[in-house]
C-alpha cells in the first residue's frame, strides 16, 4: 500500500524538512511487518510529493495463525489496502513530523499549508458516505473514485476500495496525526491487540480535532476495535457539549432495528410469560434460548421455580451464561443452561410443565420441522407448548420487499394461515389442542407482527 503527500506551498521542497526525509533520496525502513520505502516522485519549487510505500511481508502476516480455520487469513487485502499497518508505518517513519518537531523549519511546522493526500486503495462502502463523514468535518475536500471489483467481471460492479484524494490547508503534523487515527477506523480491523494504552494513543493523535468531530464515538469505537469498556473510557476523556449519538455503524441486525420502535421483543416476552403463568407452569424449558433474554425475565417470576435454557449455537449460549450469571443468586439457582439441539430427542427436556420456542421455528429448514415437532411434542412433551414466529403478512408494514425476510437466517416466514395449518396439524398428531394469540400492534388487515400459538396437551379422561 502506498500513501503520497503533495504540497504546493512555496518552496514545495520544504516538505522534505517537515518530514525530515531528503527529497533526493530513496530511503528504506525495516518495520515489524515489512519494509517501508520513502521517495519523492516529484520535488520542484512549485510542487513536491512524498510517497511512503509499505511492502507488507505476507508470510509474516500469517505467522502465529496456524490452525486458524479461516482461509481468509492467507489471501486478504491486508498487504494492499490502507489500514492500521499503514497508520503504524506513518507514525514510525515520520515520527518527528507527527510530533511537530522540525529543526530547520519550526515556523512552517505550525503553519497551515496546502496539502493533498492520495490513498489509492481505501476500504469504502457503497457510496463512500463514511469517508466523507470522517474527513469533511475536518475541512478536507474529498474526492472518491471507485474502480470495478474485477475488470474481467464487470457484472460484479464496483469493488470495496476507493482511490481517495484529500485536500486542505493544514499543518502537516495534524494531517499526519489524522491519518494515523483515522486509517485504522476505515475497516475496524486492527492488526494488534487493543488495550488501554490505545486510548492514550488516540487521545494524543486526536488532540485538537477529535473531540469536536461529530463522528468521534464511531472513530473511538472502530479505533478501539469496538471494545465497549475502552470506548466508554475514551468518550469520558473527550468532554463535549454535543452528546448526540452517532448513527455511523451500519445496522447489523435488520430485524432488531425494525422491531425496536414498537418494542416488539418486550411485547413477545410479556405475552409468553403471561401465557406460561396462565398455564400455571412452575417449570419452563426455553428452547432456543439465544442470549437468555427470556430466561432472565422468567427467572424474575416467583411462581416459576425451574428454568432450562437450551441453545444450539455456542456463542449465544456463552453470552446467556454470562447474562444469567449476573442475576441474583436465588434467580440464578432456578436456571440451568444446556447445549443441545431441537433436531434430536433429548431426555433432559422431559419433565417440564411448559416449553417455549420463541422466534425459533423460522430458523429451522421447513423440511426438518418434523424433527423439531418430535423433539418438542413427542419427546419433551410438556403440558404447555408456546411457539412464536413472525407473521409474514405484516412485513408490508416493515416495508420489506416481496419474499424478503426479516432476518437473513430465517428459512421461512409464515402467514397467519400457514402457521395455523402447521400448528393444527402438529397439535392433532401429538394430542394437543391449540389457541392463537396476536403479539404486538395489530393491523386490521395484516394482523400482528408476531404470531403466537399456545398448545395444551389433551388430558386423558
Amino acid at each position: 500500500m502506498i500513501i503520497s503527500i503533495t504540497t504546493t506551498h512555496r518552496p514545495a521542497t520544504d516538505l522534505g524538512y517537515l518530514l525530515v526525509k531528503h527529497p533526493d533520496k530513496v530511503q528504506e525502513f525495516d518495520l515489524p511487518h515489512g519494509t517501508a520505502t520513502v521517495f519523492y516522485p516529484e520535488a520542484s519549487e512549485e510542487r513536491c510529493t512524498a510517497a511512503l510505500l509499505l511492502d507488507i511481508d505476507p508470510v509474516k502476516l500469517t505467522r502465529g495463525r496456524r490452525g486458524s480455520p479461516l482461509q481468509e487469513d492467507y489471501v486478504n487485502d491486508r498487504p494492499y489496502a490502507a489500514s492500521s499497518y499503514l497508520a503504524y508505518a506513518i507514525n514510525r517513519v515520520f515520527r518527528s513530523a507527527c510530533a511537530g518537531q522540525t529543526k530547520d523549519r519550526p515556523e512552517l511546522a505550525v503553519t497551515p499549508i496546502p496539502l493533498e493526500i492520495r490513498l489509492p486503495s481505501v476500504p469504502c462502502g457503497k457510496k463512500g458516505k463514511f469517508l466523507r463523514r470522517l474527513f469533511e468535518p475536518l475541512g478536507y475536500e474529498v474526492e472518491i473514485e471507485k474502480p470495478l471489483l474485477d475488470p474481467a467481471f464487470p457484472q460484479w460492479g464496483d469493488g470495496p476500495y476507493a482511490a481517495l484524494t484529500l485536500r486542505r490547508n493544514g499543518t502537516l503534523q495534524e494531517t499526519l496525526r489524522q491519518m494515523y487515527a483515522l486509517l485504522p477506523t476505515l475497516d475496524g480491523k486492527k492488526h494488534y491487540w487493543v488495550s488501554e494504552d490505545e486510548i492514550d494513543k488516540l487521545m494524543r493523535a486526536g488532540e485538537g480535532w477529535l473531540e469536536n468531530h461529530p463522528e468521534k464515538e464511531v472513530i473511538a469505537s472502530r479505533y478501539l476495535k469496538k471494545r465497549r469498556d475502552l470506548v466508554k473510557q475514551a468518550m469520558e476523556r473527550m468532554p463535549s457539549p454535543d452528546l448526540e449519538t452517532s448513527e455511523g455503524e451500519a445496522p447489523a441486525d435488520k430485524e432488531a432495528d425494525m422491531e425496536k420502535p414498537m418494542k416488539l421483543a418486550d411485547a413477545r416476552t410479556e405475552a409468553v410469560i403471561k401465557t406460561v403463568k396462565e398455564a400455571g407452569a412452575a417449570s419452563v424449558a426455553d428452547l432456543g434460548c439465544g442470549e437468555g433474554r427470556l430466561l432472565t425475565a422468567l427467572a424474575k417470576e416467583p411462581g416459576i421455580t425451574r428454568i432450562t435454557g437450551l441453545e444450539t449455537a455456542l456463542n449465544p449460549l456463552e453470552r446467556a451464561k454470562r447474562r444469567t450469571g449476573r442475576l441474583p443468586e436465588v434467580q440464578q439457582a432456578k436456571i440451568s443452561l444446556l447445549h443441545g439441539s431441537l433436531s434430536y430427542r433429548d431426555e433432559r427436556l422431559a419433565g417440564h410443565a411448559a416449553a417455549v420456542a420463541m422466534e425459533v421455528i423460522e430458523h429451522i429448514d421447513p423440511d426438518r420441522l418434523d424433527s423439531f415437532a418430535e423433539a418438542v411434542f413427542g419427546a419433551a412433551a410438556p403440558d404447555t407448548v408456546i411457539i412464536t414466529t413472525p407473521n409474514r403478512e405484516y412485513n408490508r408494514i416493515f416495508r420489506l420487499a416481496e419474499g424478503e425476510t426479516r432476518h437473513q437466517d430465517h428459512r421461512f416466514e409464515w402467514t397467519r394461515q400457514e402457521f395455523r395449518e402447521w400448528a393444527e396439524k402438529t397439535a392433532a398428531a401429538y394430542g394437543y389442542e391449540t389457541g392463537f394469540i396476536p403479539v404486538g400492534p395489530e393491523d386490521p388487515e395484516l394482523g400482528p407482527p408476531t404470531q403466537m400459538a399456545a398448545f395444551a396437551k389433551i388430558k386423558k379422561p
Binding site: 510505500l53 481468509e72 486478504n76 474481467a152 430427542r345 418430535e374
Partner: protein
C-alpha cells in the same frame, strides 16, 4: 456346601466381625469383585475402624456395586450385614440393577469370632460389638429367607465355611452359547395349521419321535403367545413341547401362556382375550397332557440372550438394561412390554414405543402386538403379523435375517382394534437422540479401529447439523478431507508429483492412478431411480429422486426446481448407463466435484479473493506510477520498482486463477458434475472395486449426459516403470500450467494397506499457479517460498485417514441397514473432526 452364584448377581456376606468373611472372599473371588465396607471406610478416613465414616463408606460401596452390576459383573458385599436394614439396602440395590441378591450367612459361634478378633494384629473390634453383632445375626436367621434374597446359604460353623465351594452359573436367560441358526416364529395364537405350514416351508420335518426337526440342525424359537383365540391352542403347545423336548426349539412365555399357567394352577384370573376357548380345548385333552402342559408352562422364560449376546428374543421386546437380567420388572417388560399405564380408545393398554430409544448392540426379535408388516427398526423387529386376526404367521431366519411367512387360512378372530403400522399414527421424523451424538465418544470402524471424538468437536458439529445440514436420513456419508503431498524440497514449487509418488513408494505401493483434480465444490449426490424409491430407502418423504449436498452436509441447490431438474438428469443418466440393472439397485451414491466453483463459491470469490486482487491492483498500480516518476527524476528506485512490478504481476495472476473457475450459470446450463467414485448402491459399498471401475462408471454416466456430466481424465502410473511416472508428471505440468488445480494421486485399490497400515486413500498435488489462491499471490517469491516450505502434513494426514474410515464405516452401516443412529454417528463424527484445528492451506 456348593454355593451357586448366578452372573450377574450381588452376593451378600453376612456375619459378625471375625466370622471369616474376608478370608472366605479372598479365597473365592477376585479382589476387584469384593467390596469391603472396611476398605471403603479406610478410603474416606484413613482409618479402617473409624465408625464416623460409616455412612460415607457405604455411599462409596453402593456406588461401586451399582456400577458393577450395571455392567453385569458379579459383586460381593463384604460388610457384617447383620442388621435387616443393612441387608434391605443391598437387596434394593441389586433390584435397581435387575440382579438377584444371594445371601451367604456365616453362622459362626461367638467364641470363634472373638478368638479370631483377638488374634488380629492390624485392628481389633471391641468385644462388646462382636457380641452385639452375633445377637443380631441370631435374630436375623429366623426371617432372612423372606427378606427378598433369591437364595440364602447358611454356613454352619467354620468348617463348613472352609469346605464350601463357589460355583458361578450363567443365569437362566443367558443362552449366549447357542448360536442357532435360528428360525424365530411370531405369535401363533392357536393357529396350528398355519404353524405346520410355516414349519414345513422353513424345512422342518416330523422325525421318528414325532417332533419337528430341521435337517440342517436349525433351531426354532417360539416368541410366546402360542395359545388363546385360535382354533387349536393345545395342538400348538403340543408341537412346541415336542420340539423343545427334542431340542429342536426354544420356547418363550408370552402373557397368554403366563395367564393360562396361573389359571391352571388354580389362581384367580379373568378369563378373557380368548382364554376361554383354550380352556375348553384343553378340556378335550387328557389329564396327563394337561399336567405335562402345566409343567412346560412353568418352565418357560420370557426372554433369552442368544448367539454370544448378538441376539435377544423376548415376547414383547426388552430394553438393553434388562437383557439377560433376572428381575421382576425385566420379566414384566418381556411379557407385556412397556405401557403408559393408560388405556387407549379400545380399552387396551397404551404402549410405549421402547424400540425408538433402543440403542443396544444385540438385535431384539419380539412379538406381542400385531403389526401389518415385520420391519426392522433400530435393530429390533416385531414378528407378530397377526395370524389369528387373518394376517400371517411370520418367521425370521437368523443370522440370514430372511423373512418367511404364511398367510392365515382365515380370520380366526376379529381384532379388537385396527392393526396399524407401529409408527404411522405420527409424522415420521427420525428417531435420533441427542445422546447418540453429544459428548465425547468412540466410534469403532472396520478400517482403522476406534476413532475418538472429543466433546468440544461434537459440540461444534451439533450446531452444524442442527442448523445447516440436510436431514440426517439423507446424510449417510460425509467425504473426508485430503492431504497434499509432502513439500517439494527446492526450486519454485511447493508441490510436485515426485513427492506424491514418493509417499506411496515408501509405503510399498507401486500401482497408482492420477486423476485430474477439478476445481469446483465437493458434492455428494444420491440419485434414485424415482422419488418413491428414494423415499422408500432413505425413510424420508421426498418429491425429488435423491439429493445433492456439500462436503459439510449442506444442501447444494437452494432452488428446489434446479435441484429436481439436476437429480432427474442424473437419475436418467444412471438409467441410460444401465446402472440400475448392472448394480441391481434403486439408488446410487456418488462422490463428485460440481462446477463451476462460483456456483457455491462466488460469495467467497467476491468477498475475499477479488477484493484482495482489487486492493492490490489499485495500490500497486499507483505505486508503479509514482516509482516511475521518481526514476525519471533520476532517483535510485529501480529495485523498489522491480519489486513492485513483481507484486503486481503476482496479484494479477491470482485473479486469473479464480477467474478460470467462475462462469455464469443459468438453471442447469453451465453446471458440470464430475463424479469420481460411485461409493454405494443397494447392499454394496464399492470400496472393493478398483479406481478404474469407478472411472469407467463415471465415463458411462458422462456418455449418457455429456452436457451435465464430465468424465475425469486420468493416468495410470506404475512406479516400477519410470516412463509412466515421467509421463504423469508431464501431464500434471500441462494441467497446471495456466492455473489448473492439479491432480489427485491414489493407490490403484480403493483401500490400500502399506508398510504402516492403511495408507492415504488419495494425496493431492496442486499446481503452482493455483496455489496462489491458497497461500497468497506472492507465495512463490523466493523470500516467501522458503519459509512456506516449513509445513507439516502429519495432522492433516491423520485427520484424512480417520475421516476416510468413518465415511466408509457409515456407508457399510447404511448398506447393512443398520439403525439410523449408527449411520448418523459416523457422518456426525466426520463433521466433528472437521472442527479440529488443521492448517487450512493444506
Amino acid at each position: 456346601m456348593n454355593i451357586e452364584l448366578p452372573v450377574p448377581s450381588l452376593a451378600v456376606l453376612i456375619g459378625p466381625s471375625g466370622a471369616g468373611k474376608s478370608t472366605f472372599a479372598a479365597r473365592h473371588f477376585l479382589p476387584t469383585e469384593v467390596l469391603s465396607s472396611d476398605q471403603c471406610r479406610a478410603m474416606v478416613s484413613d482409618d479402617i475402624s473409624d465408625q464416623t465414616a460409616t455412612s460415607e463408606a457405604f455411599e462409596i460401596l453402593n456406588a461401586i456395586a451399582s456400577a458393577r452390576l450395571r455392567r453385569g459383573r458379579l459383586t460381593v458385599a463384604d460388610a457384617t450385614s447383620v442388621q435387616q436394614r443393612a441387608r434391605r439396602n443391598l437387596i434394593e440395590l441389586a433390584k435397581s440393577r435387575d440382579c438377584p441378591a444371594i445371601a451367604i450367612v456365616f453362622n459362626i459361634n461367638e467364641r470363634t469370632c472373638q478368638e479370631r478378633n483377638e488374634a488380629r494384629t492390624d485392628r481389633k473390634t471391641p468385644r462388646h460389638t462382636i457380641s452385639r453383632q452375633r445377637r443380631e445375626l441370631s435374630r436375623s436367621l429366623r426371617g432372612i429367607r423372606k427378606e427378598g434374597f433369591k437364595k440364602v446359604y447358611v454356613l454352619e460353623g467354620p468348617e463348613q465355611a472352609e469346605q464350601s465351594e463357589i460355583c458361578r452359573v450363567p443365569n437362566r436367560h443367558n443362552r449366549a452359547g447357542l448360536s442357532g441358526p435360528f428360525d424365530i416364529i411370531g405369535d401363533v395364537h392357536g393357529c396350528r395349521d398355519e404353524l405346520a405350514q410355516l414349519l414345513a416351508k422353513l424345512g422342518y420335518r416330523v422325525n421318528e419321535s414325532g417332533a419337528y426337526a430341521h435337517p440342517e440342525g436349525r433351531t426354532a424359537v417360539f416368541l410366546g403367545d402360542l395359545v388363546d383365540r385360535g382354533p387349536d391352542s393345545p395342538g400348538v403347545l403340543e408341537t412346541a413341547m415336542k420340539m423343545v423336548g427334542a431340542g429342536t426349539a426354544l420356547c418363550l412365555a408370552g402373557n397368554h401362556e403366563y395367564k393360562l399357567m396361573r389359571k391352571m394352577m388354580g389362581r384367580n384370573v379373568t378369563v378373557s382375550h380368548g382364554l376361554a376357548e383354550t380352556l375348553a380345548q384343553m378340556e378335550e385333552r387328557t389329564p396327563e397332557f394337561r399336567q405335562e402342559t402345566l409343567e412346560f408352562l412353568q418352565g418357560l422364560d420370557a426372554h433369552y440372550v442368544l448367539d454370544q449376546g448378538r441376539l435377544v428374543v423376548a415376547h414383547a421386546g426388552i430394553k438393553e438394561e434388562y437383557q439377560g437380567r433376572e428381575s421382576e420388572r425385566a420379566f414384566q417388560f418381556a411379557l407385556y412390554g412397556e405401557t403408559t399405564g393408560e388405556t387407549d380408545e379400545w380399552g387396551l393398554p397404551e404402549r410405549v414405543d421402547w424400540a425408538r430409544e433402543y440403542r443396544g448392540k444385540a438385535s431384539v426379535v419380539y412379538g406381542h402386538s400385531p403389526v401389518p408388516d415385520a420391519q426392522w427398526f433400530n435393530n429390533t423387529i416385531n414378528l407378530d403379523t397377526g395370524c389369528v386376526f387373518g394376517g400371517a404367521l411370520t418367521a425370521l431366519r437368523y443370522p440370514e435375517k430372511e423373512m418367511i411367512s404364511v398367510p392365515a387360512i382365515k380370520v380366526w378372530r376379529e381384532s379388537p382394534k385396527p392393526i396399524l403400522p407401529q409408527r404411522e399414527t405420527r409424522p415420521n421424523p427420525h428417531s435420533l437422540q441427542l445422546s447418540d451424538v453429544a459428548g465425547s465418544s468412540i466410534i469403532e470402524t472396520a478400517l482403522t479401529g476406534p476413532v475418538r471424538i472429543q466433546e468440544e468437536n461434537a459440540a461444534a458439529a451439533l450446531e452444524t447439523v442442527s442448523r445447516f445440514t440436510v436431514d440426517p436420513r439423507w446424510l449417510v456419508y460425509v467425504p473426508p478431507t485430503m492431504s497434499p503431498c509432502e513439500t517439494a524440497g527446492q526450486g519454485e514449487l511447493l508441490e510436485h508429483p515426485e513427492q506424491a509418488f514418493q509417499y506411496y513408494r515408501r509405503q510399498g505401493i507401486t500401482k497408482l492412478v492420477c486423476q485430474e483434480k477439478h476445481m469446483g465444490s465437493r458434492a455428494v449426490v444420491i440419485a434414485a431411480k424415482s422419488a418413491a424409491a428414494a423415499s422408500d430407502r432413505f425413510g424420508i418423504e421426498t418429491e425429488t429422486p435423491g439429493i445433492c449436498y456439500t462436503r459439510t452436509g449442506r444442501r447444494f441447490f437452494h432452488d428446489r426446481e434446479t435441484e429436481a431438474a439436476f437429480l432427474n438428469r442424473i437419475s436418467e443418466a444412471a438409467g441410460a448407463a444401465g446402472l440400475w440393472e448392472s448394480l441391481d439397485t434403486q439408488w446410487i451414491l456418488l462422490d463428485c466435484e460440481l462446477m463451476p466453483w462460483s456456483l457455491k463459491g462466488e460469495g467467497l470469490v467476491r468477498e475475499q479473493y477479488a477484493p484482495a486482487a482489487a486492493a492490490a491492483r489499485q495500490s500497486l498500480t499507483e505505486a508503479a506510477t509514482l516509482l516511475e516518476q521518481a526514476k525519471s527524476r533520476g532517483m535510485p528506485a529501480d529495485s523498489a520498482a522491480a519489486r513492485n512490478a513483481a507484486r503486481r504481476d503476482a496479484a494479477e495472476r491470482m485473479a486469473a486463477v479464480y477467474a478460470r473457475y467462475c462462469w455464469p450459470v443459468q438453471g442447469l446450463e453451465g453446471v458440470k458434475l464430475a463424479p469420481f467414485h460411485l461409493l454405494a448402491s443397494e447392499g454394496q459399498v464399492h470400496v472393493n472395486r478398483s479406481h478404474q471401475w469407478h472411472m469407467e462408471t463415471a465415463r458411462k454416466l458422462a456418455g449418457a449426459d455429456p452436457e451435465l456430466v464430465s468424465a475425469t481424465s486420468c493416468r495410470s502410473v506404475n512406479l516400477e516403470d519410470p516412463g509412466t511416472e515421467a509421463e504423469a508428471t508431464r501431464w500434471w505440468e500441462r494441467l497446471t500450467a495456466d492455473g489448473g488445480e492439479g491432480m489427485v494421486v491414489k493407490p490403484e485399490n480403493f483401500i490400500a494397506t502399506g508398510r504402516n497400515g492403511l495408507v492415504q486413500p488419495a494425496v493431492k498435488c496442486r499446481g503452482p499457479e493455483y496455489l496462489r489462491i491458497i497461500y497468497g499471490p506472492e507465495y512463490n517469491m523466493p523470500e516467501n517460498i522458503e519459509r512456506l516450505r516449513r509445513r507439516n502434513t502429519g495432522a492433516k494426514r491423520s485427520l484424512a485417514l480417520r475421516e476416510f474410515s468413518l465415511g466408509i464405516e457409515g456407508l457399510h452401516r447404511f448398506a447393512q441397514r443398520e439403525p439410523l443412529h449408527r449411520i448418523h454417528q459416523c457422518a456426525f463424527a466426520v463433521l466433528a473432526l472437521e472442527s479440529e484445528p488443521v492448517d487450512p492451506r493444506l
